[in-house]
């Protein structure tokens, strides 16, 4: 009887150790899989969020004159008129699907800490459920570079964005998708330093209005190992027919005043859908 107790004790002890070792092993394996991207980027997803100490310093930006200011007002009025078409049709209750392709012509850095090259091309798929005010209720955003290790998926739920590929969660924020590409925010926030102009062009057979936002610097700046930058230009291409953005381009202004393209985003699809595919819905907890 005494010997049986000892045997039973040993069996229980070995089973307990096996459970502990197995669970630790499983956690390590799961952790290793989840941590690939954070390891590549050398980021700690659990880093505390410091309160933002944000300053605005526009002293290095050249101010625009009164004539340019009048032209800006006229140009932005055109933008608003054009965008109202798109908002009427797409900023409505239900699911919104937006697909785009990005090509970066220059990167801030050549490689990640592990030595792997920083990708310069990727696609983006966004699925957003809007309420009747056009505010997002939930959303999924998938960025695919073609390298599974670098794929990023972010989920917006309960008012918070979580990058599930990195395990990083943002502070709660309201998300209201807009169709202006940020040009209206730029026109109000930086109205004293940005020159707006407009022209027409064709993108993939579509007639577009091109709105250009240009900022010039007093003293050139540089980024990483890149050349000196004397200013910045963003070109927004809106389809004449629908008022939707079809392309956005970023340029740097070089020492001769010429434009050097740094990034182009081509909007592939903007559509209202009844419901996203099941694999997209699976990202939500409810």
């Amino acid at each position: 009887m005494k010997a049986n107790k000892k045997v039973a004790f040993l069996v229980v002890a070995i089973a307990a150790i096996a459970v502990v070792l197995f669970s630790q092993g499983s956690m390590l394996i799961a952790g290793a899989q989840a941590s690939k991207l954070k390891d590549i980027l050398n980021l700690d997803p659990n880093a505390p969020k410091a309160k933002a100490e944000v300053q605005t310093d526009l002293s290095n930006s050249k101010k625009i004159d009164k004539k340019q200011d009048d032209q800006n007002v006229e140009t932005i009025a055109k933008v608003k008129q054009l965008i109202s078409k798109a908002e009427k049709e797409y900023s409505t209750e239900g699911w919104l699907h937006i697909s785009s392709s990005t090509k970066a012509f220059s990167t801030a850095q050549q490689t990640f800490p592990d030595g792997s090259p920083i990708p310069t091309e990727w696609t983006n798929e966004s699925w957003v459920l809007l309420d009747k005010h056009g505010d997002a209720v939930k959303a999924v955003n998938i960025q695919d570079t073609g390298d599974p290790r670098l794929m990023q998926i972010s989920v917006y739920e309960n008012g918070t964005w979580t990058n599930i590929s990195l395990g990083m969660t943002n502070d709660p924020e309201k998300y209201h998708p807009t169709f202006d590409g940020g040009i209206l925010d730029t026109s109000s926030t930086y109205k004293d330093i940005v020159k707006f102009s407009t022209e027409t062009s064709a993108v993939n057979g579509q007639n577009t209005f091109v709105f250009t936002a240009e900022e010039n610097l007093n003293t050139p700046t540089s980024e990483g190992n890149n050349k000196q930058i004397y200013g910045n230009v963003v070109k927004y291409y809106f389809a004449e027919s629908s008022g939707l953005l079809v392309q956005i381009e970023n340029y740097n202004i070089n020492s001769t005043g010429a434009l050097e393209i740094s990034q182009r985003i081509l909007m592939n699809v903007i559509e209202k859908v009844t419901e996203p595919p099941a694999n997209i819905l699976d990202y939500f907890t409810k």
Partner: protein
């Protein structure tokens, strides 16, 4: 004999696990004499640029052998995902024999696809060394919608 071997194995596994935990916790220890204040900082410079960095100081004022950050990484996100072309990181940005330190990286801005919200992110792993103590201030992340 077999029982003794099993007990020894159990004891070894438990001891190794416990030791590993203690070693990890020890790397978080501090000098305890000086308070080091860590601040992440984002300066918005318009449509063309921004600057992500840090401002750190000691209180009461204490000159550190080395003071700064072991990692400073800045990037933009669009709807939570990092725009890889904006990602930039620098290691071992520190100054010697100072009681306060500030530094940062000039950055240009890039657009997000339409319908997406842009954030500027400043990730700093604050760090100091004051012989014989070495202190990791730990990583702090700051981001702003812009």
């Amino acid at each position: 004999m077999n029982k003794k071997l099993i007990y020894a194995l159990v004891l070894s596994v438990l001891t190794l696990t416990f030791s590993a935990t203690i070693a990890f916790a020890a790397t978080k220890s501090y000098n305890g004499v000086t308070t080091v204040t860590y601040n992440n900082r984002i300066v918005d410079g318009g449509t063309a640029g921004w600057n992500g960095g840090f401002n750190d100081s000691t209180s009461p004022s204490r000159v550190m052998d080395q003071f700064g950050a072991s990692v400073l990484t800045t990037y933009q996100t669009c709807n939570g995902n990092i725009d890889y072309s904006t990602w930039i990181s620098a290691n071992n940005i520190y100054y010697t024999n100072v009681s306060s330190v500030q530094d940062g990286m000039a950055r240009t801005k890039k657009a997000c696809p339409t319908g997406q919200a842009r954030r500027l992110v400043d990730y700093v792993n604050h760090w100091w060394q004051d012989s014989p103590y070495t202190g990791a201030g730990g990583a702090l992340t700051t981001s702003i919608a812009n």
